[in-house]
């Protein structure tokens, strides 16, 4: 069979196709069709020739096969150090093989590559830090994912995810109306407790434009309310765009680069339209990476920067605390051992290692913050990054992957983990569900709200 009805080389572009694919429970038919899917080897090779330049070519060629990358990979560690989990092996035996064969590979091999690309690498980029030649295998796996996506070999959930972005311009089916209504609803509800609080939509020339993760309006609208409370208390002149508010990019996990470009341009259009002084996103790692770190390149921006300064939520929070816009009641600071999860996507990939610690210095009683080991740019992936959390087919492998974070957390002796990243937050929640080690986990927003020193009359106590 050349191409399936659900599993094929075309991206999902219509709501109808999206619903059809969604209705295929757990992707049963989708994966069955994948077994029959032809590989367009000529197109594959043509894409490689066009997009594989000296950086990746050199990486594949000069790899010294020294194995230094082996134990930098948490998946190698948690899978009993089986040699098949050595990062260099994983990429050489997939992308390396495709290149060696000039794209002449078969269906079975492509399915093997899919398994390796989405269940044996989270694109955390840690191995790149341990390779003497500076070979970043996470970058190469992202590239491989793009090749696989273009041939239709992508996990079911991610095909749907990028389809959602194409159809709804959000990772979930949240329409513009849904979003604006959620903003109004949350403003109305929150205003009772915080008189004067608003969630201004499409306000031009504000100081801050706020963007978020579609899961927030869809499943945790209180997160949006919390963001509003903190902006309100800090006295910020802020707004959200009615269009271009969704900052995430499952298309990045899927390797659907065309869609990535569309996503980010949609956000940048909102910036151009509303002309805020700057933009801040929510407590999400991959959303920041997609929109702020990689996005400018997808959009073809020469300076590699978004149209306006675009900061991560932790940067705004640190600034608000530093400048006294938000004040913490010392009596309410955290007085129990607490640890911090460094998100790969904005710590290893944008160096934001100190601001999170600055925030903790304001909200944790001295002596109670315990670092994970290793930490900062050397920290391990939460275990669910790169789309791993969301792929049913690889749930078992994902659960094994969580063990590294579990061990790291257990070693700190802390029962509270601060995880300012949606993916990390989910992974840590799942690891507690799976292994029951008795921990709690939290974003920063609810913690900060709980310990604010609020001016008289600003909040109505019930």
């Amino acid at each position: 069979m050349p191409q399936g009805k659900l599993c094929n080389r075309q991206p999902i572009k219509t709501d109808e196709q999206l619903k059809l694919t969604l209705s295929d429970k757990s992707g049963k038919q989708y994966y069955a069709e994948m077994k029959e899917l032809d590989v367009d080897t000529n197109a594959l090779w043509a894409t490689i020739q066009k997009t594989m330049k000296s950086r990746i070519k050199t990486w594949l060629e000069i790899c010294a096969h020294c194995g230094m990358c082996a134990d930098s990979c948490f998946l190698y560690q948690v899978n009993d150090c089986v040699p098949e989990q050595v990062p260099s092996y994983k990429i050489q035996s997939t992308l390396g093989h495709i290149v060696k064969k000039k794209g002449q590979v078969d269906n079975e091999f492509m399915r093997h590559c899919m398994k390796v690309a989405w269940s044996q690498c989270t694109c955390c980029n840690r191995c790149g830090m341990y390779c003497p030649h500076g070979i970043d295998m996470g970058v190469m796996f992202s590239y491989l994912r793009g090749l696989l996506y273009s041939q239709g070999f992508v996990p079911w959930e991610l095909k749907i995810g990028s389809g959602m972005h194409r159809v709804y311009r959000a990772q979930m089916d949240v329409t513009t109306e849904d979003w604006v209504e959620t903003c109004e609803w949350m403003a109305e509800e929150t205003e009772e407790e915080w008189p004067g609080l608003t969630i201004p939509v499409d306000k031009k020339d504000a100081d801050i434009m706020y963007t978020c993760n579609a899961r927030e309006p869809k499943h945790y609208p209180e997160d949006l309310a919390e963001a509003a409370v903190l902006f309100h208390v800090a006295g910020e002149n802020w707004t959200v765009p009615s269009e271009g508010w969704e900052q995430t990019s499952l298309s990045m996990f899927a390797g659907d680069w065309e869609c990535c470009k569309d996503n980010v341009n949609h956000v940048y259009d909102a910036i151009e339209r509303l002309n805020p002084a700057r933009v801040t996103g929510t407590e999400c790692g991959h959303a920041h990476r997609a929109t702020v770190i990689e996005g400018p390149y997808w959009a073809g921006r020469e300076d590699g920067l978004p149209p306006k300064p675009y900061i991560h939520y932790v940067e705004w929070l640190a600034e608000a605390l530093r400048e006294g816009k938000l004040k913490i009641d010392p009596a309410k600071r955290i007085k129990e051992p607490v640890t911090l999860q460094d998100s790969c996507n904005y710590v290893r990939n944008q160096g934001l290692k100190d601001v999170t610690r600055e925030i903790l210095s304001y909200i944790v009683e001295p002596g109670y913050f315990v670092e994970m080991a290793p930490n900062k740019e050397h920290n391990y992936c939460c275990g669910g990054g790169g789309g791993f959390n969301g792929i049913g087919l690889y749930r078992e492998q994902r659960n094994v992957a969580l063990r590294k974070k579990m061990d790291q957390i257990l070693d700190t002796g802390c029962k509270l983990v601060i995880a300012p990243c949606h993916n990390c937050w989910d992974a840590i929640r799942d690891l507690e569900e799976e292994y029951e080690i008795g921990i709690r986990w939290s974003f920063l927003k609810p913690l900060i709200i709980g310990m604010l020193d609020i001016p008289e009359g600003m909040r109505v106590e019930w």
Partner: protein, 225 residues
């Protein structure tokens, strides 16, 4: 034969080897692509250069990168191998005498015992590298016949050189074997993965620029390798 090998053929080998390596470097940098690599090399050149410098320096220093510090045994073997490999041919007295005769200048010369020590170091380190390749499953799975061939080509000039130097067997034969094996090694540099002798710097510089620009450098964050 000796005259020919150390005369015109030597010059030809140098030209191909060094010329080829230069071409590799030029092609590498020409092949970098801001949009595909997702690094704004040109727009933030000074940040990029700072990152590149940090990346190279950290890895040339045996305690400069966390990866080196975590594996002191391998690091020792690795540095001993590379230092011997580079220092011996460049500073060997016999080589510099030839340089002096041909070009009228020479570099500082290694005392004989140090040259011997360095040569033996290369051979011992090479054996250790081979044993490591066989012993460790995570290295064994990566190792190919090509890796062993590269090691053989690299260590051959040292083995033949030492045999000639100790005058074991037929001196003329081993001397010629040394010269030829050295020339094979030189010729392999641009065409095999031994090209890492220059591409190491290119690749490290590239990742350093990535970190120096996009992945934190512009935020003022210094990356700790």
């Amino acid at each position: 034969m000796y005259e020919l090998l150390t005369g015109p053929i030597m010059w030809l080998v140098f030209a191909i080897s060094f010329g080829g390596l230069l071409v590799r470097v030029v092609l590498y940098f020409k092949g970098l692509n801001q949009q595909l690599d997702r690094v704004a090399y040109k727009a933030h050149l000074s940040y990029g250069l700072k990152g590149a410098f940090n990346s190279i320096i950290s890895w040339l220093n045996p305690v400069g990168a966390r990866a080196w510090r975590k594996k002191p045994g391998f690091t020792l073997i690795f540095f001993a191998f590379h230092i011997g490999l580079l220092a011996t041919p460049i500073f060997l007295a016999a080589h510099n005498i030839m340089l002096q005769e041909n070009l009228g200048f020479g570099l500082p010369q290694l005392p004989a015992f140090l040259a011997d020590l360095l040569s033996w170091t290369v051979i011992v380190a090479c054996v250790a590298i081979i044993l490591r390749r066989i012993a460790l499953p995570e290295v064994r799975i990566l190792t190919t016949a090509y890796d062993y061939l590269m090691l053989l080509i690299t260590v051959a000039p040292f083995v033949t050189g030492l045999i000639a130097r100790y005058q074991m067997g037929d001196y003329q034969f081993w001397l010629l074997a040394h010269i030829i094996s050295g020339q094979i090694w030189l010729l392999c540099l641009p065409f095999t993965k031994l090209s890492h002798c220059v591409l190491f710097f290119c690749s490290r510089a590239q990742l350093g620029m990535d970190y120096g620009i996009k992945r934190g450098g512009l935020k003022g964050s210094t990356f700790s390798w």
